[in-house]
Symmetry: C2
């Protein structure tokens, strides 16, 4: 793989570009400029060009970017033809919504199984996705080559569940609980804290009424966050 060090923020924007290019391709558009992308995605055109420049010289001066070529390039780069299987732990309100939302329909990610402690849920299916008891975890991970888990259990059991997941071989966790999880440093954890997102929006609204927009993918979060 010829992927050098791509800045974190760039890696977060690539799926956005990819998604919009799919849309352009679907409506038969042949070419697009950084300015065109900028309008649609509300990202500075220079930032977009810089992002692409990390991947190579993908455009042509005076022309812009060829939609089909760029789309294919990003598909390869993001490995969009390989399907990634994931599991979901905690089939409650939020977990059920995520199971029902079929990521696979529009993306290369598939939730292959749900897990829950509640015996009344075990053995059922949600939109064709089977729900298992926790003690079947290792088995299912091995069968479907799963390394990523979505965590939607109550915060009180989040750490214990994490330990269990790590032990079973999970390497990445998308954590929806408000708990800050401890795990070995080779385990990648992204936090999505919906309560904080809402609180932060309200805070900015109350305190900086007429500020400019700020893109906010999870700083996630955020992170990123």
């Amino acid at each position: 793989m010829a992927d050098q060090k791509i800045p974190q923020v760039t890696a977060k924007r690539l799926p956005l570009y990819y998604r919009y290019l799919e849309k352009l391709h679907a409506i038969g558009k042949q070419r697009v400029s950084s300015a065109g992308l900028a309008d649609a995605l509300q990202i500075d055109p220079a930032t977009i060009r810089r992002d692409f420049s990390y991947l190579g010289e993908l455009g042509k001066k005076g022309y812009g970017y060829n939609v089909t070529y760029l789309l294919q390039f990003l598909r390869d780069f993001l490995k969009q033809d390989e399907v990634t299987n994931v599991v979901l732990i905690g089939v409650g309100n939020l977990g059920t919504a995520l199971l029902r939302y079929n990521f696979y329909r529009s993306h290369n990610t598939k939730i292959v199984a749900g897990f829950d402690q509640d015996v009344s849920k075990v053995g059922t299916e949600i939109d064709g996705i089977p729900i298992f008891a926790m003690d079947r975890l290792s088995e299912v991970l091995a069968l479907h080559h799963v390394e990523v888990a979505i965590l939607t259990v109550p915060a009180s059991v989040a750490q214990a569940t994490t330990n269990f997941l790590v032990n079973a071989g999970i390497r990445g966790i998308l954590n929806f609980t408000p708990a800050r999880l401890n795990a070995p440093s080779n385990i990648r954890i992204h936090h999505i804290d919906l309560t904080v997102e809402l609180q932060t929006l309200i805070y900015f609204l109350k305190n900086f009424p007429a500020e400019e927009d700020v893109n906010d993918f999870t700083l996630n979060s955020d992170g990123d966050d």
Copy 2:
């Protein structure tokens, strides 16, 4: 309001501090150091001290921070005693999960109503929260002094719905749809793109297997914002 310019990232971390201080207070802890907070929240202690320093000199050298005092200070600063009413537009899978999750239980934010186009949903209640038709929006906003909306409609109607919301007086939108919304610059929009979050996690996992953790609020950055 004695709030100067607080860095964006700091504003996103304050609710995290607040939440943890509540927990400490509940178990009767009197004092906490930046190192103690750092351990629990996985944020560098210098960053934490710097964050607090924007708000004033809240700690005491050689002692740390008084939990009760700091909690009260943050409560005031974040205006945690004022309840903020919000509405939710699009009572589908995700919308229903959010309605069922009572933000109010642990925070100062209350979803007072849901709205949906689907007549079979209008007139029902979810956990005591009434669901209205879209044409009742202005009325409900005025009644409850609502300025913030959570948007969980299909992406295809997201822009039209946004226009409608802005027109009705909404000033802040927490957008769960993958659409990039256009709105006047005085409207604050935060994006939470769950698909991108998942894709980004997988990307990092595939390409940088043994990297260090990166906080990702939403930014979530958000991050993400």
